[in-house]
Symmetry: C2
Subunit: 271 residues, 2 copies
Amino acid sequence: MQSGAPGEPKLSSFHQGALVARERQMPVRESSDRATTPCSSCPLRTSQYFCGMLFEGDDAGAGSRFPRTPVARSHQVASRRRNIYRNNDSSSSIAVICDGWACTYISLPNGKRQILSFLLPGDITSAAAVFRDQSGFAVEAVTDIHYCMIDKAELRSALAGNREIFNEFSKRWAEHEEEIGKLATDLGHKTAEQRIARLILGLMQRQSERNQVHDGRFEFPLRQQHIADATGLTVVHVNRVLGVLRRQGILDIKGRVLSVLDLLQLQHIGH
Amino acid sequence: MQSGAPGEPKLSSFHQGALVARERQMPVRESSDRATTPCSSCPLRTSQYFCGMLFEGDDAGAGSRFPRTPVARSHQVASRRRNIYRNNDSSSSIAVICDGWACTYISLPNGKRQILSFLLPGDITSAAAVFRDQSGFAVEAVTDIHYCMIDKAELRSALAGNREIFNEFSKRWAEHEEEIGKLATDLGHKTAEQRIARLILGLMQRQSERNQVHDGRFEFPLRQQHIADATGLTVVHVNRVLGVLRRQGILDIKGRVLSVLDLLQLQHIGH
DNA sequence: CGCTCGTTTGACTGGTGTCAAGCGCAGTGG
DNA sequence: CCACTGCGCTTGACACCAGTCAAACGAGCG
């Protein structure tokens, strides 16, 4: 929610007007000329997230925090509900989200799935996958997304060649692993209300770090099924719990925007 | 279970007779002279596990896979149920298990805890913690253990300085993260029977890789409380499920030894 | 002997899952 | 303009897995 139109939130903060993505079918490889790809004007290039870490200083910019030889990448798009990786896909490249939301998940034989994390712009799909051929999990676009593919081997070289990037990368990887550990703890021991509260608080925190929260309201493209898959609950039960929270005046989801009305109470529920 | 004494299994395969650990109080720093520490004769030094990766080739040995400047370490011991890290401890060094079992866990405000992984000889407590000051989780000795403390900064340098070690380290880290993701999936979607079956199968697999499984029997020092903490269940319910599995002739735990009597059935339960 | 630790069992409760149906809304095509 | 359709949200009735509370037992140990 950058502009304050509550009814029709603009999910896309990228390519507003300039380059409208018309392909909504499958991930399509765009121009291989890096100089003309959207990446060169990607607002994330200088951000504090993953892109900024690797790409900053590609061209002779000002004093960049991570002076680096550029890493080759190809810009791609995928529409909502499309998989950009499937379970046990082996791929030699790794994606970084440029715009939109995605999620990583493990699918189960019975058709259910466990969402392990939601990916926001600037996030790499998986730090671990950089060092594995097979991913072991899948990645799905929650909204229409833009993302960049980076060659794993090239990324490994970049990491090995620059200790500062290496440490930064590893630190974020470690933080992500800790998040998954906490997720496991929640799934093992917390009630439905607590899990949902903590999921929302976590997302709110991350959106807040990106200055995307205004008056307790932020963009929230998740369907209740996503919440269910992330918290290990059923849609029906998620719906019930959200209903309770809404009736208690703690939060409200409307038109893909989540409003936290009573943050203290929500934090109290999350414990 | 190296020797075939089923009734009284020797949990300790290290320092058998030679150097009996009498300190059973707190982790005690032993001699700082590396040449005379038990590490120099540690059977894990040349194994395929973590120690071997870093320590092999300390002295002018034969053709080692990872020729390296040695990393300083101090050998320590801890008795059963002792914590070698607590929640949010900040430590500049990281432990590698030499002998015995340990576990990493996150504690909850209500006194419960979620065990994230069991550590067997050769395992590092946490690859992620190498890049963080605070650990976010705790480590407890399941049995009496021997372990080595390695300086994190020194380890980071070793990783940055040798691409082969770095890749190997990262690959194992990635595998461990995947395990935690699977754990989360289990906790979110599997039944008690499935979770317990999968826990046991996972431990059996790891013991098998270490050639510690004979006739479906292997050393199993876990209390039912450990199983409960690892599967997000209560001791009472773990006991009931184990009782069912025993009565069905699928497995049996006796005298800290676990016997898998019907592997296929167990795998089938784990799905 | 008395203590602690770990295991075992029973009765009861309750949080979530399952099954099923209905509603609102947006898109689509006649 | 209006049916038709798919998707997501909502609600109710019921079932069941696992938690809670409580008590007892056996083994090891000082």
